[in-house]
Symmetry: C2
Amino acid sequence: MKPLPDLRISRLHALVGQGVDAIDTPALVVDLDAVNRNLQRMTGFATRHGVRLRPHAKMHKSVEFARMQLQAGAVGLCTQTVAEAEALAAGGINDLFISNEVVSVAKLRRVAALAHQLKLRGGQLAIAVDSAEGIERLAQAMQLTRAVIDVFVEVDIGQGRCGVPPGAPVLELVRQLAARSTSLRYAGLHAYHGAAQHLRSVAERQAAIARAADALRATRELLQAAGLAPSLITGGGTGTFGNEAASGLWGELQPGSFLFMDGDYQRNERDPMQPAFEPALFVKSQVISVSAQHAVCDAGLKACAVDSGLPTVHALAGQPALATEGGGDEHTILRPVAASGDAPGLPALGDTVWLIPGHCDPTVNLHAHLVAVRGGLAAGEVEAVVSVQARGVW
Amino acid sequence: MKPLPDLRISRLHALVGQGVDAIDTPALVVDLDAVNRNLQRMTGFATRHGVRLRPHAKMHKSVEFARMQLQAGAVGLCTQTVAEAEALAAGGINDLFISNEVVSVAKLRRVAALAHQLKLRGGQLAIAVDSAEGIERLAQAMQLTRAVIDVFVEVDIGQGRCGVPPGAPVLELVRQLAARSTSLRYAGLHAYHGAAQHLRSVAERQAAIARAADALRATRELLQAAGLAPSLITGGGTGTFGNEAASGLWGELQPGSFLFMDGDYQRNERDPMQPAFEPALFVKSQVISVSAQHAVCDAGLKACAVDSGLPTVHALAGQPALATEGGGDEHTILRPVAASGDAPGLPALGDTVWLIPGHCDPTVNLHAHLVAVRGGLAAGEVEAVVSVQARGVW
């Protein structure tokens, strides 16, 4: 038999320096030029408004993008899980906030070990709590180390997920936290309104954060009166951070999606108070089947998360406008869209179809690596293949 | 400082021999007793009906479950991607059918290499085609080797995804395929009706497969008249395989989900023609936040795929019935359900909540490993931690 082709190269989507057309599909592709512009817009905003920027790494889950954000002026990163924090710490990120509750004994031991490790490196770990038992369990775990962990009491400012209600419940928890000052440092309040981020109109988002700010202001006064004023309130996301910054309450913003953007955020009415971010995250797919009425590409549920809707087609110049239909694990069905003046058309077998995922966070989680390109999708080059180190479920 | 706790053990969800209560969350848990019963039901059905069983590995993506199915009598496995086939081949599975179209040159070279590799081991690779160009590209790639690949022409029997329409278009493609007999062997027809699997009523599913069978029977007659009778028609899924088997047309069934089942399949009206399968796939989650009205567990979009609906709560004896609401990447919101006679209740902080995912395939894809337990969810033990070797997007 003839010699075998080299298998190893074929298992990378592309090599650095290759053209975009060489990227095998389905591949998650990041437009680095757009990423850089989005990052400059966000850090510029934070600087102008005098607020700290701690981007949420649950979006990109990647050491490389975390480093890029720190270089641009971010004070640290947020993560949503212990595993994400461990992965970023392993990549040299020293200032991390787990913006979520952890109550498992096994995971709290990992939290303690991570706090210890970051302290040895001159860094700092922070975490959120929303219950007395959570504080107690965290304090128990922290006995494994002499490191001190920063603790933010999470306030439910309207999302109805985690956090205690504003007002007296916050004061009560802060009192309990302040009493554990040997290993737990009361660092402030975590107040993130996830449900407000995707309200479509500017007015709705503004109203939601205004209500949240009223409740939070009253809570802060209650804490001040008790001598327990929070030194920092942290929160805000890509949909609303302009409102949080304008309130004067939040001293730190946690947006994640601004860097890559996604289909869902692009369906929001743009808030003139915030910079305009551009799409930077795409799935490159290939047409593998064409019939008289439709085409099928090779990117399905395993390439794009669909919790915020199906991916949409991003037609480059000369490519047909296409509507998408769900096609299962490995396929998306593409149908022609009749545009005024243009004859509707279908792509040909083997053609490239670029998709914009509905939701960036769970889409990135599906991929082992991101192919980062410079010079655009039409004629750019691969600059890096970036590992998604914090991918995975825990 | 005190010595650090051992981090390595904490990064496995559980160790073999531990009780189910020791499994850290969120974890994908497989009930091996239920899996074995489901597999026996399916192989028993195939034996009684004289059809071959080639289960679809895009569901479990795991060498271990593929081996279990071969031991039970399956003739081989289906995969939906080249990467899945490569992963199973690396685990020693020798008879594989990529039940999908591949047109990328890079991936077709991998197909050729895999066909070569399997031939050296005495195995066989098969693949689907639905275009003349697909046949041409495959033939080109196969020139890299002297191995012969089995090729099935995919017929669109009603799903409207890949495949050529029944009748003359099939004959045309089969003629082109038969002309490439040096490296491509015409092995038959691939006819899978994905859209029929989740039609809720038995009557709807029966009618859909009856229409498909009529078109397929006429196509077979056309092929027979041309001296190109298919030696095998392969297809069928967990929702409809009883109909395919009863038709006398299909000689091989490809169900995948029957092994683990999922929330969506359990919402189908059960077909008395088919064995009853039981849920075997669960996500173990932990309550990390409790308020007056709701609780929140630590399994969100990264633990359960939601393309076929949110996960549902699988309440064990003594656990409260709970309804689910989406909570984002890392959370699901739980609300009490008032049951007649029982007081509705919420779980306590730290409690275990078992979820049944809506759709098994993309849920398994989210996890690096499956925790396989024996003896039930309430009091069982971990028997194995199974890698999801074929996880990933390509």
